[in-house]
Symmetry: C2
Subunit: 130 residues, 2 copies
DNA sequence: CTTCTTTGTTTACATCTGTAAACAAATTAT
DNA sequence: ATAATTTGTTTACAGATGTAAACAAAGAAG
């Protein structure tokens, strides 16, 4: 069973975002993309790609004349991993503690609250009628 | 205005948790605490305390014969900082996106959902009748 | 075919993190 | 007052991270 317990650094997230947006991409496309978005030197991006490949988050295909890269790690899996790590460290693993802290700090715009409320309401309904 | 834009590393969070739990504490108390919880060597803890003091997250008082330490950075401020960083990186800054992802992954126990729902319901009510 | 350009691979290097060992100063016990 | 212990300060050091320069191979252009 392939271990998706991969942790991404900040810089690596940027590279992955590029690949999650669409893949496969050539090295050229990726370096251009990150040169634009992050101002990175070509080498920087290529180095990150190697590291990501080494840790199994990316695969490359050298068949054709241009090497291409694709994500192996899915965004949702990376996100879930980060989320668990974050929640446990900062909010003792409790999402509701997180939300209550944010509201106390008034760090949640009304739109977010409304949207969240709507979502949960729907969830509750589903849960209750099965 | 004191800039609370302090980012804590994992190890530093452990030290801060100890101080947030109660303070001031002597070096002895802190090193014992972290020796027990994390298995850290005395030096490790003391080094972390220095780094934390250097970055303004902790103050020490050397008046008496025993040096004591207290948190300067408040837990809520550290948490908020981390939260913003995390949400923007992983969920484009959207809490509701975070929650919807978690539910899709079935990574939220029913209790959490219920609790969150109750909390938001109350919030909505308050917002609506003012 | 030489030369210029693009692409790919190695090596480099400073800073940050986790983790202490060493050494020095102050207390305490004998 | 001496030795043993506790406490405080400096120095160390490997691995992770951000950031790239150097060098080599492959293709394109003249």
């Amino acid at each position: 069973m392939s271990d998706k317990n991969i942790t991404l650094t900040n810089a690596e997230w940027s590279v992955m975002e590029c690949l999650w947006e669409s893949a496969p991409k050539t090295g050229r496309e990726i370096t251009d993309y990150l040169k634009a978005r992050e101002g990175w030197n070509r080498s920087t991006t290529l180095t990150l790609l190697s590291r990501l490949e080494a840790k199994g988050a990316v695969v490359s295909d050298s068949e054709g004349r241009k090497k291409t890269f694709s994500p192996l790690l899915r965004r949702e899996d990376a996100a879930l991993h980060e989320t668990e790590d974050f929640l446990s460290r900062v909010y003792k693993g409790s999402l509701s503690l997180m939300v209550s802290s944010l509201t106390k700090k008034k760090a949640l715009p009304k739109e977010e609250i409304d949207q969240l409320y709507a979502m949960l309401k729907k969830l509750e309904e589903v849960e209750n009628d099965d």
